[in-house]
Symmetry: C2
Subunit: 334 residues, 2 copies
């Protein structure tokens, strides 16, 4: 299969030593222009292509690859992350190796192993589980790890997250300022860090606003749109239905909108969604937005920086969020 000419072959064709050919192809100085040209000619005419596998091995066994372990590449949030990571890595001549964990901690572990065998220079992870013992050992051994979206509990690593609390507070206040008191919070699985952050801040904001019993309208388990829809249907059927919904993520927003579409008077209910999405503008949905591509870019940046200087202080990057009013969050309660 695909036997390519080696450096040695090129060197021989050019009538120079292996090392000289190597120098030319690595753009090293101290080569006569004439020799350089001869080597270059030989290389192109032979269709030479350096073998990065061998080069990396010779250089110390590390590849110029960076691994990214993510929940699900098909999810637009993760693919935005991947896109930002890839873009930044390329600036530094690094390549991106992706692997999907399907949010399964066990799978995350085995993928970590595979990427480590590939001798990635760094690992960027959106941690699925709470147990990071495997990673911890690798970090101690010198592996560069950067964590995105959710911090890895108890681990002292570079981290990139968004301002979940600030975003939630702003969203809740936005609804409060428009006169709402009975505000429902529809969130993801309770064990997720982002859920905990967002729900806690929601309750705190409500309490500060003088709405002490906000827990009554707090719901979790909206791991997909269908589940979210069911939650909202139930909320609306209750004796004291909410006049507004704060959907704590992308899928919760979709489910909420489905429920409101089908419910009588559903178009009277105010909605603010966490996470922006392409059609939010068209649908007139007010959201808490942030830049996922930038998140990925920053994570890659941190990975590069730490690889270059393992002793630099650990960084926590918190990206800002902002409320984008588009109509759905500005409806007043009747």
């Amino acid at each position: 299969m695909n036997r390519r000419p080696t450096l040695a072959v090129v060197a021989e064709a050019a009538g120079v030593s292996l090392k000289t050919a190597s120098r030319v192809l690595n753009r090293e100085p101290n080569v006569a222009d004439a020799t350089r040209e001869r080597v270059l000619d030989a290389a192109t005419s032979l269709g030479f292509r350096r073998n990065a596998v061998a080069a990396d091995l010779a250089r110390g066994g590390f590849s110029r690859l960076v691994g990214f372990i993510t929940g699900d590449l098909a999810n637009e949030f993760y693919s935005a992350l991947a896109s930002g990571i890839e873009r930044e890595l390329r600036e530094h001549g690094l390549q991106l190796l992706t692997a999907s964990s399907d949010e399964d901690p066990e799978r995350e572990g085995s993928l970590t192993g595979e990427l480590l065998e590939r001798r990635v220079g760094a690992l960027i992870v959106t941690p699925a589980g709470a147990d990071h013992s495997a990673l911890r050992g690798e970090i101690a051994a010198g592996l560069t790890v950067v964590v995105v979206d959710r911090p890895a509990a108890g681990m002292d690593v570079d981290t990139v997250v968004i301002d979940n609390r600030g975003g939630t507070r702003a969203a809740a206040r936005h609804l409060l300022e428009h006169g709402h008191r009975r505000i429902a919070f529809v969130g993801d699985a309770p064990h997720l860090w982002t859920y905990q952050e967002r729900s806690a801040e929601f309750l705190a904001t409500m309490r500060d606003a003088g709405v002490p019993d906000a827990e009554r309208w707090l719901r979790s388990g909206a791991h997909d749109a269908a589940a979210a829809r069911d939650l909202v249907v139930d909320l609306l059927a209750a004796p004291e239905p909410p006049t507004a919904v704060l959907a704590a993520n992308n899928r919760a927003t979709v489910g909420t909108l489905q429920a409101l579409r089908d419910a009588p008077g559903g178009d009277q209910v105010a909605v603010v969604g966490f996470d922006d999405f392409e059609l939010a503008d068209l649908l007139g949905i007010t959201v808490v937005a942030y830049d996922a591509v930038e998140m990925g870019r920053r994570a890659a940046e941190l990975a590069v920086a730490r690889s270059a200087d393992p002793d630099r202080p650990v960084e926590l990057v918190v990206l800002p969020t902002r409320v984008v009013p588009r109509g759905s969050g500005e409806r007043r309660p009747r």
Copy 2:
């Protein structure tokens, strides 16, 4: 940085030869259970991890990586492809190396080079340009290449596409059957193969239905939602505006919907979009749907099959499409 124990160290710790240790860690037969256990113990206690870089080199210089060169990972269509590819590769113990070309042919060329240097076992590409001369040479040299979404003109390689003509015909007929004659077609850049296929079939279908001057409502250049919107705005302002729009891709659909939202009487215009999207259901948009994840999976499958048997006949996989009626395509002209 991260100096790990080598096989030799493990072998010495276990009191066996390097080769025996290699056998154990590669799960080869012909090793006594006792020795096996000793080696395994040594490996785990030393935190050994095989070096895939070195292993691949020794095996012949090829890595167990498959490269995927795509337009833009942040685009949900491409990330769905990537997801399907990754899933299938993993079944075969292969890893996915992704690179975004931003639909730039030149960039596609340099990325191809980089991946080749990494000695990927196969390359999966959504071709950006029309010039595949670089790839052609590599294929002749034995590289496995699979092309997705658009065929590579004049190249005899495994290809996975959807039934663009069938989908377009079904969409056009759907509108015709609901009484429309003045149907606009809003498509992407004219140089794209998918545009050519879809627009040609659109015109043919219209002609077959006795609408000979369908070109009047044919538009191209909807490379993003904003451009598509402008096109539709113009169409609606014309003396004989269309009563229906066939949006030839995802972004064209979004732009069309934006234009219709803002136009008086826009809600009377029927719409069928090519490419399904998550909120199409909520918005009640009739679409031509197909399975992008499956597309990626099939592409990876072909890549694996050809790597195993370079002499197998070249395959063209055409995935089916289907019209999903959701309301917007069923409006009748006034």
